[in-house]
């Protein structure tokens, strides 16, 4: 067998759940460590190698200052894989892009605190560096990760399904949630997670991104049929895919604005702002 490829994991703005999912995969598939040599995995090891061929990047890029680190990784790695919705789509992080950055900074950290927290429009890493493959999901599906890694080791392009979740949902013989009046984005979301959310009774939230043929108009009609307001539907369309919606411009299938409105006033939280003097 040829030398094991050296693999490194990196995290940017994320919850690190995808890396944890890989740790979980090791519970049942410890043999993975025989296929690759892990040289960097901050969540599990102290050792750090800078010589790697495959880089898995978790998390969105949300700071200008992170771009350099991303470029360094790109220079070193032969293959860069976006790991999980944050890296792949921008994910939940991009919900904040609805407002100007000062708006969210002030809201969370107050007038004085905002300057201390560097941030800019959250984006998928493909917006900063070239990405060779993506493993979607929030979190990733551990078996999809394994299969895609195996494909890469075979020298193949890790291809994702282009069809919607409903396919997998039907094969599992789930009762269709949309038929039961519960909102589910399965019809427009890329399959590959084995329809885990509908299987557990909760509608798909679109964490794997849209299929190429997503029929947003009919999807909206279906959700309206459940009595959902347009605001609610927009919120669903943008939970993981805010960045995509933002960058679809006028074609974005949303009824409200997804990008900052000029000169919006800066709000402060009516909940405790960290500037307050001791309450005691």
């Amino acid at each position: 067998m040829p030398a094991k490829p050296k693999v490194a994991f990196f995290d940017f703005t994320s919850c690190e759940g995808c890396q944890l999912t890989i740790v979980d995969l090791l519970q049942t598939h410890l043999g993975l460590v025989n296929l690759v040599e892990i040289v960097q995995f901050r969540e599990a090891m102290t050792e750090k190698g800078e010589d790697y061929a495959i880089a898995f990047i978790e998390g969105s890029c949300t700071r200008k200052s992170d771009e350099d680190r991303l470029r360094k990784i790109r220079e070193q790695a032969a293959v860069v894989v976006a790991l999980g919705a944050c890296a792949h789509l921008g994910g939940v992080n991009a919900m904040k892009n609805r407002w100007a950055i000062e708006n969210v900074q002030t809201y969370v950290y107050g007038e004085d605190g905002k300057a201390m927290y560097e941030s800019y429009e959250a984006r998928p890493i493909s917006a900063v560096i070239q990405v060779d493959a993506a493993i979607p999901g929030c979190p990733i599906d551990r078996f999809e990760f394994l299969h895609l890694v195996q494909k890469m080791l075979q020298g193949r392009a890790p291809k994702l399904p282009d069809y919607p979740l409903c396919v997998e949902c039907k094969l599992k013989e789930n009762a269709c949630l949309n038929k039961l009046g519960k909102p589910c984005l399965g019809p427009i979301t890329r399959a590959g997670c084995n329809a885990i959310c509908p299987t557990y009774g909760d509608g798909c939230e679109g964490c794997r991104g849209w299929i190429p043929e997503a029929n947003f108009d009919e999807m909206r009609e279906i959700l309206r049929g459940h009595g959902l307001s347009d605001a609610d539907i927009d919120a669903r369309f943008t939970m993981f895919n805010h960045y995509q919606m933002q960058h679809m411009g006028d074609d974005a299938p949303v009824t409200t604005t997804v990008s900052p409105v000029k000169d919006e006033p800066l709000p402060t939280s009516t909940f405790a702002a960290p500037q307050e003097e001791p309450v005691r």
């Binding site: 944890l20 999912t21 410890l30 969540e43 949300t62 909760d202 919120a235 405790a272 001791p278």
Partner: protein, 433 residues
């Protein structure tokens, strides 16, 4: 004797999230000694604005991959309190079960994969797999159980699916529960072996008196709801959490610290042990004895020992909870109804692996979130870590920088800082300030 030391441990590995320790000692005096957080801010509170209330738990579980069930639970409790939701007994039982799954997963990960390598003198879990394969295999077995438990109840551990406002969207079958119970019984041997292993470790004896804060319940060593308790005495209702987390300017930096009755307090397993050890299951109490853990224990390194005690407790509690559920039978039930009204406010709290966590929301009459606040355990601990570091460093000056670095890292690791919980932090110190 090292007169001048500079320790700069970047990206403390093996903690969830990013942290840097900076120590600067000149001529025996501490110039700087702090745990810096380099995690990018994520602005969850801001993002929640305008979102439907039933999205909140799904969004906030994404704050942290390891405390996902904890965040979802705190979030649901906040929403439910705001919207006047009464939970059924079945919902409470199932939530506890899921919560235990996460508690076990997190504690096993932390103690076995992040803490044990330090004590066994191997760099990390990968070399540990070579030097102590049986230890790693046991850890993976135990972790698999906690993963299976989460899967059966809420679909998955990281970002639970079936927990929703007012109840659940999926229910475990009798068969699944029976099989989990069997697995839990079978796990007891591993649990005993765990206590044995951690009993042999040379826990550092460093000690510093401080205040401990945890959720306390009347009749159990619980993790969800209750009142906020302190080893300094007071009991505070959850709705008044702000008087506890109380953010103020600290003496030695411009950043803010959480402080209740003293300069800082500690949350997490040790705090829970100190506050409610009398409700531990007997096997867990015996484990505490075995480790020489006695309330009130002021040795921060012993937080990891307290986590092992909680592992023992949770496995027993899982068996008990499953027995209860099997006896009552689990029936699919619709989530409890909500009442929408203008300006509804609610606080939810639970004691996640790393300590007490608060979510607070204000929800409008259309069910859209107007305001949100999340206070995470690591943020509350940071002030205490700094004070520990300042007390610890002078005792280490005779050691080599490598040894110092390791001890400091181990201290930070003992707190199990889940820094990726990057909602806003209460305490951040910046180099140069």
């Amino acid at each position: 004797m090292t007169e001048n030391i500079r320790v700069n441990v970047h990206h403390v590995t093996r903690v969830e999230g990013h942290g840097n320790i900076v120590v600067d000692v000149r001529d025996g005096t501490i110039e700087k000694c702090e745990l810096q957080i380099v995690e990018t801010p994520r602005f969850f509170e801001a993002m929640l604005r305008g979102r439907p209330y039933n999205q909140a738990s799904h969004i906030t579980s994404r704050i942290c991959g390891i405390c996902a069930i904890g965040h979802a639970t705190a979030s649901l409790r906040a929403t439910e309190t705001a919207l006047g939701v009464e939970l059924s007994e079945q919902t409470r039982l199932l939530r506890k079960l899921a919560f235990h799954g996460e508690m076990l997963d997190s504690h096993i990960l932390h103690t076995y994969m992040l803490v044990a390598p330090d004590f066994l003198n191997v760099g990390s879990v990968l070399p540990l797999a070579v030097s102590h394969p049986e230890v790693v295999q046991r850890a993976l077995r135990m972790k698999k159980f906690s993963g299976d438990l989460c899967q059966v109840i809420v679909g998955r551990h990281t970002h639970p699916i079936a927990m929703t406002v007012g109840g659940f969207t999926h229910f475990p079958s009798r068969q699944e529960l029976e099989s989990l119970r069997e697995q839990a019984e079978a796990l007891l041997a591993d649990v005993d072996a765990t206590v044995e292993l951690f009993g042999t470790l040379p826990w550092p004896t460093f000690e510093r008196e401080t205040e401990f804060v945890a959720l306390v319940q009347d009749d159990e060593y619980g993790f969800i709801d209750g009142v906020i308790g302190s080893t300094d005495g007071p009991r505070v209702p959850i709705s008044d959490y702000r008087t506890v987390t109380n953010e103020r300017l600290s003496a030695h930096s411009t950043a803010k610290h959480a402080a209740f009755n003293r300069d800082s307090y500690m949350v997490g397993a040790l705090a829970r042990f100190n506050l409610k050890h009398e409700h531990l299951h007997p096997r867990a109490a015996a484990a505490a004895d075995h480790f020489g853990l006695e309330p009130v224990c002021h040795k921060p390194y012993m937080n990891s020992a307290a986590q092992v005690v909680e592992i023992v407790h949770c496995v027993d509690d899982v068996i008990m909870l499953i027995d209860t559920l099997l006896e009552r039978g689990v029936e699919p039930e619709a989530p409890a109804p909500v009442t929408l009204k203008p300006g509804a406010r609610g606080v939810g709290s639970c004691d996640v692996p790393r300590g007490i966590l608060f979510h607070e929301y204000q929800i409008d009459e259309n069910g859209l979130i107007e305001e949100a606040n999340c206070i995470i355990p690591t943020g509350q601990n940071l002030g205490n870590v700094d004070l520990d570091l300042r007390a610890l460093v002078p005792t280490l000056l005779t050691e080599t920088e490598d040894q110092i670095t390791l001890k400091l890292e181990m201290l930070v690791r003992a707190y199990d800082p889940c820094i990726s919980c990057s909602t806003h932090f209460l305490n951040v110190e910046f180099v140069g300030k």
